[in-house]
């Protein structure tokens, strides 16, 4: 540390102060963008996989309804950025019971119809990596 004999208070802003303030402001903005936006985990697209092959891809931004046929039939609904299986003729109805989903990395599955709706895109890292339950 330097010995400064002139101890008068310095109130003027120097270039470093402004730079520091600017950097702190930028840091705050970056933090807000990184942690503050609720949209981070939302998927952009739903992929329709059946028997291990990709059958189609649909943006969640466009509302639509369609039927995936196979051994059974699943009616898929996309609405307000979310997707669900509205109706199905499979036994068990696990796919219908699993409800609405919008998070990247999540899936809705109908085992009897070998169908997986996979939510992708929107974030490099989804918020949730796996699900137990």
């Amino acid at each position: 540390m330097r010995n400064d004999k002139h101890t008068q208070p310095r109130l003027t802003l120097c270039r470093g102060d402004i730079l520091a303030a600017a950097l702190i402001f930028l840091a705050a903005v970056a933090l807000l963008v990184y942690f503050g936006t609720g949209a981070r985990g939302n998927a952009a697209t739903v992929q329709v996989w059946q028997d291990g092959t990709l059958q189609g891809e649909y943006p969640l931004a466009v509302d639509r309804e369609f039927v995936v046929a196979g051994r059974y039939h699943n009616t898929v609904q996309i609405q307000n950025g979310r997707v669900c299986i509205l109706d199905a003729d499979c036994p068990g109805q696990d796919c219908v019971k699993s409800g609405w989903h919008k998070d990247t990395g999540r899936s809705i599955v109908c085992l009897p119809n070998r169908l997986e709706l996979r939510l992708v895109g929107g974030a490099a890292e989804p918020e949730i990596d796996g699900v137990t339950g």
Binding site: A30, K97, E127, G130, G133
Partner: protein, 344 residues
């Protein structure tokens, strides 16, 4: 120097919060995910990082193939050509010893040990009882208007043939024999977790493997070193999480009354049968177990589901595991160490 300090501090702060996303974007490895609907009658998901999709697919396929072998060996409903599996054992071990793969011997030994250590709450010799429930459930799901409970007398007769000691394992000759010809194996409470553990044990580091909610991490995410985040599904609302937890190198397994069930006269009957009552256990809506061994986690989730809290906690203490119990009213109880893993 003094003047530069805030500048330096600001730079550190700025780097600190922008670095993680930048790192994942610039990293050579990308995140990939593979799903299989062919194993253990459930959904298998493998998440990992690799430089190319082909690299990841090769890893995922190798794990699938290993799991498929366990799936076929431990299947009690279907036979496969050129293989003695648990269906072969169930069909023939009452007459004569059946030669089996070492993977079956090891599973049966592990299951017998857990029978002893859980006071009989995990009993693979309960197949005769469980098949009555299984048939009633399948019928009730397929034809809801014909749904009916299994006959009580039939359940009690079946329960007379659930002795674990009647399963005779000859390690030297690699055979299984039933001293009670009426006993049947059902490994549903343990086999999936055991298989996941065997496969995860030799899997590459940095993967998250989930077989029907039986989740096993083989170390943290490779690029960032961050733990994986696993959501614990709400029994009341499948699209919601009760908690998200950090998982790095252990397993998470949940048993719940909402996973497999059928409805008779408006009442839901789920698949976790208490060996002492022969009916679905009603202490909890779900029990989630955290512990290093996936097979143990699987067995403990079933055992704790059929036990009141204190007895469950005693088991957790004996095995060094943690649990979260969801009560019928939706409120949640935790073992003392569980909270350390909670993220949200």
């Amino acid at each position: 120097m003094k003047r530069l300090f805030p500048l330096f501090l600001a730079l550190v702060l700025l780097c600190g919060c922008t670095a993680p996303p930048a790192k994942t974007e610039e990293a050579a490895s990308r995140r990939y995910e593979a799903t299989f609907l062919t194993l253990f009658d459930t959904v298998t998901t493998i998440v990992g990082y690799a430089e190319t999709e082909a690299d990841f697919s090769a890893t995922a396929q190798a794990l699938h193939d290993e799991l498929l072998e366990y799936h076929q060996l431990y299947d009690i409903y279907n036979e496969y050509e050129g293989m003695n599996n648990l269906k072969t054992v169930n069909d023939h071990a009452g007459q004569a010893p059946v030669p089996v793969d070492r993977k079956i011997i090891d599973l049966l030994l592990f299951s017998k040990e857990l029978y002893a250590r859980t006071g009989g709450k995990v009993n693979i010799a309960m197949g005769s009882v469980l098949s009555l429930w299984h048939d009633a459930r399948e019928l009730g799901i397929e034809f809801p208007d014909q749904a009916a409970l299994p006959d009580r007398d039939a359940l009690e007769q079946a329960a007379a043939h659930t002795g674990i000691d009647s399963i005779q394992i000859d390690e030297e000759n690699g055979t299984v024999f039933f001293t009670d010809p009426e006993v049947r194996l059902d490994v549903g409470a343990i086999a999936k977790g055991y298989a996941v553990q065997q496969v995860c044990g030799s899997a590459p580091a940095g993967l998250l493997i989930s077989v029907g909610g039986n989740v096993c991490a083989t170390g943290p995410k490779p690029e960032s070193g961050q733990p994986w985040v696993v959501g614990i599904q709400s029994p009341a609302a499948p699209e919601e999480y009760l908690h998200t937890i950090y998982v790095e190198n252990f397993s998470v397994v949940t048993s719940g009354d909402y996973q497999r069930y059928f409805t008779v006269d408006g009442v839901a009957y789920h698949h976790i049968i208490d060996p002492d009552t022969l009916y679905p256990a009603d202490y909890w809506r779900s029990v989630t177990i955290l512990c290093p061994d996936s097979g143990l986690a699987d067995a403990l989730s079933t055992a704790l589901f059929t036990l009141p809290r204190q007895e469950g906690q005693a088991l957790l203490d004996a095995f060094g595991a943690q649990a979260m119990w969801v009560q019928p009213d939706g409120s949640i109880l935790y073992s003392p160490g569980f909270r350390e893993y909670i993220r949200t």
